[in-house]
């Protein structure tokens, strides 16, 4: 299994305001698969994604990524994981406004001190249809374009896993459909595994599996 999460617990706050976001989640995801996570607001979807993205640490439980126990990794190791094997796509796109599209896309490689493969970049931007906006800044792009740039940034490092937190939440139906097709292609063409959080059943239909969550636990998998 590429991702193995065992008995993951995560809570926020203390005392009366304590909220158990994840209650012993067990999750196993294989390579080149597309998993959609659905559930009501506050059920723990984003928390799960953040745990899987190593952006937050679980209170307890074990998280293996490609056989490596992430819980015991230091911050640099996690940063390296994010630079080389794991990409995150956010609902808010999270592009850096001061950098143009091209620089936003290659940002992970800058931090990894690697030269990017120009032909690979061209192929990605061509596939995503953003070759004309490479010199533009995020403020000059539409929502759909921004999300495609975020996907391009995620794909450039050829990650094993792409974690997407409601990537279509801010997009209209047409653009959302395009983004989903792109994510589907990430699995089919680029061989990545995609784990996506969504509320939209239509979007979830692009996935191989749908995992339903409620109250920090898993209701079932379809």
């Amino acid at each position: 299994m590429l991702i193995e999460a065992k008995k993951i617990f995560k809570s926020f706050g203390v005392g009366k305001s304590k909220v158990d976001a994840l209650r012993g989640i067990d999750l196993y995801v294989g390579e080149k698969s597309f998993l959609a996570i659905m559930g009501k607001s506050g059920c723990g979807k984003t928390t799960l994604i953040n745990v899987l993205a190593t952006l937050i640490s679980p209170d307890s439980g074990e998280y293996y990524f490609d056989g490596v126990l992430i819980n015991s990794c230091d911050e640099n190791k996690k940063a390296e994981l994010k630079r080389r094997q794991l990409s995150v796509i956010f609902q808010q796109y999270n592009l850096i406004d001061e950098l143009n599209v091209k620089n936003n896309i290659i940002l992970p490689l800058v931090f990894d001190k690697k030269q990017f493969d120009q032909s690979y970049l061209e192929r990605i931007v061509s596939d995503l249809g953003i070759e004309d906006v490479l010199k533009k800044f995020p403020a000059e792009l539409s929502g759909g374009e921004k999300q495609r740039v975020a996907i391009a940034r995620a794909l450039l490092i050829t990650p094993k896993v792409i974690l997407a937190d409601e990537p279509t939440g801010n997009l209209d139906h047409e653009n959302a459909g395009k983004v989903m097709e792109l994510l589907r292609n990430c699995v089919n063409i680029y061989g990545s595994t995609v784990i996506m959080v969504t509320h939209d059943i239509d979007m979830a239909s692009y996935a191989d599996q749908i995992l339903r969550m409620s109250d920090g636990g898993i209701d079932g998998v379809r």
């Binding site: 937050i56 911050e75 994010k82 995150v88 999270n94 850096i96 001061e98 940002l107 992970p108 931090f111």
Partner: protein
Amino acid sequence: MLKLIFMLMRRKKRKYIIVLSGIITCALFISVMELVYSGHISSIIENAYLNVGKWDISVMVDNVTSDPEELTNERLLKVASCDVTYSVRQGKIPEDYVPDSMKDTFEYYYMSLVGIHDENDVVLVSGLWKGRWPESDNEIVVPKDFILDDGRSVAKESIKIGDKITIPYGIRKDENGKCSQDEIAGKESFILSGAKEYTICGIFDYEKKMSTQHVSYGYCIYDKEQKESEYYCQKSYYCLCDENYEDLVNIYGILEDSGEYKEVKINQYVENALKSIELTDYLRTLKNGIFVLEFVLIVSGVCVIVICQYQNLHEEQKQMKLMFCVGAKREQIYQIYLTINFIVLVLGYGIAFCILIVFSHFWGKMVTYVSDSTYFDTGLQNINVTLFLISFFIMTLSSLIVLFLVIKHKLPKHESMGKRNTYRYNQKTLSSLYNLAECNNHRFSGRRVIKTFVVILALTVIPCCCIIGISSYQIAERDIIKPGYDFMLSKDGDIYIESEYELESIPEIESIQKKAGVSATRMILSEEMLGKEVFDDIKAKGWYDSYIDGSGNLIWSVPIVFPEENYYRYMQENGGSYLPDYETFSSEKKSIVQGYYHSFDSKKYFDVGKTIIKNTGVMCGSSFTNLENSFELEVGYSWVNIATEKSSFDTGLTIVIIAPIELYYKYFNSEDFHHETLYKIIEKKGTYEILYRKLNDFAFLNGMYISDIHEYNKEAQETFDIRVVSVLICVTVVIIVAVILLYVVNKLDRIIWLPSIKTYRNIGIDKKTLLKLSLLENSQCIVDALIVGIVMHIIASLSFMRNVYSFYNITLKEMGIAMFVTLGVVIILTVAFSVIHAFDLRKQADIV
């Protein structure tokens, strides 16, 4: 990575330009403060030399030499116009020369060779011309163009190393044979007890431009039990002049007549040195004040930069988090933001340095132009590069450290990314708005701190600059001599009025009488006065006096010295027929004149003394004669010959005092300073001798020409102009800096506010309320700042600024007014900016 950094900076160039302007302003402010005020202090030091002579007088007691004062800068020494002392040797007194009866009492002495210059514009440069400095007890060095030949004549050409010179010495004792004097009556005598032969081992050279050169040889004998009284337990003294035969006769006349007398000059120099030390203390205080000010500025600079960057980081927080999400290491994020900060600092300081060079150049040019001198260099020499670099390093280091800590604090946990700021806004009451403002200020504590800080800075720095500026003005004003007196006392104790100077009416004269505390007035009338209407009134009141003798001499002043009864008797017995008959004085007059000299232990001394000096413009008593059982002050009178414009004096008692109050200021800075110092010393030491020395200081005025006064007036006016320009520039710079800082703060404030406006609008806050909110936020900062600023200012006033206030006689009331004005200016400025800012936000709200 560097490319990434520049890309990040390029897109936010506007913001960084604002930060940059803050840095440039701080750097410039620090340097300009140093540039302008160091010149100011140098100028004061220069005056100190002119006023009180040389500073490095050393005295040896028990083989321990006191540290010479600092400031022996050769250039300054050359412009010093009076009194240079050379201590050339010192050692233990040979037992043979101590009277047997006193061997148990006295042990130490020093012998000094003293070069004295009483005249203005004397340039004295010394150096060993031949031979060497003394190494043993029986050696001495003498001036090149002077030699004492048996104490009677001058033999300029006969000096050669190896010659013998005989120097008499003596001991002063009181009634009990101790080396001291009766503190109450000043009873003492001086016994010329012997002489010693010395070998000339060296000859020193000094350049002189004036005719009168005194060289004195003095011994000082210290009482074993009264080591501290070394200044007062002097000494045998010989003095002669090499070119002024008349003076020589006078001096030797004293020696021959009395056979014993007190040395005056050395004491005078010691006194000068004491005065110098006092002035040095003041200057040090002033320098410390400026140092503190500069330190405050550096700290301010650090705070401004850190807070600016902090605010930037607040905005960049999302960016940092994102970088973190895409795999940046913490070190890389530190690297990016610290490098940006460093680049901005280097850029800012670089630009500031360039501006400073230009400013310094023009500043130097301007001062050189105004003062017609090369006192200020033009260019880099004016810039205190060390201070500049220190401020840069302090700012860089501290801002990098603080930024590092801030980034560490701000670097994200992912969950914080989703957080939204929530606002509780239920109703538009003032209290709810106040709470919201308080909440915002708390939320953006950095912004509050910077606003508070800027106002504090303005509150602290502006008054300091103004006070130093005002003090410059006061000093400069004092330096300007305006010849003439308002009125003076006559020899019979009545008031005389010098008619040339703005006396137009009887009431005016009567008001002067009232001020002087006398009822009678006599006029010294000039010919110009005769035609005036007021003349008839004066005649009618019997105030006309016959002092115009038709000899062509306009009486310039009449002395007013009335020390004590013994003195008058003495003077009358010795031909002082012109002196007033003290016995005929009214009790009021007696009270005045006696009070002046006898009420040393009471406040009356000040009141009466000040009244006389102020109203007469004459400081009386220039020298003294030592009598058997008493001491006396000498008096004289003088006039100005209209034809020659030269002041003359009666030599009956050797010294005449003509001291326009402005000249008094010139040489002693301030009347109160002088009196207060005098009073303190008298009170402390309980001796009259210091009073004598003080009075003796006026002797140098003997040769004063009216033309000298005019010349000095001209110089003083130029100095005055320079200082006024300096003050204007300083105050202008301060105000500009304050405005720029406030502008920068408000700009940054806007950056922070903009994202919030949308939220506020969404939750229903209208533009008017938004305006109120903004004003409330700023008012909270201003209140904070005012409280802290006032406390800081009071602390500063009571601590390091205290001496400054005291020195310039700045009263509490004046300080209060200065504070009030400053507060007013700061409040108006701050409120103005707040209002502008608030309206700006409202405009932005329209756009949103």
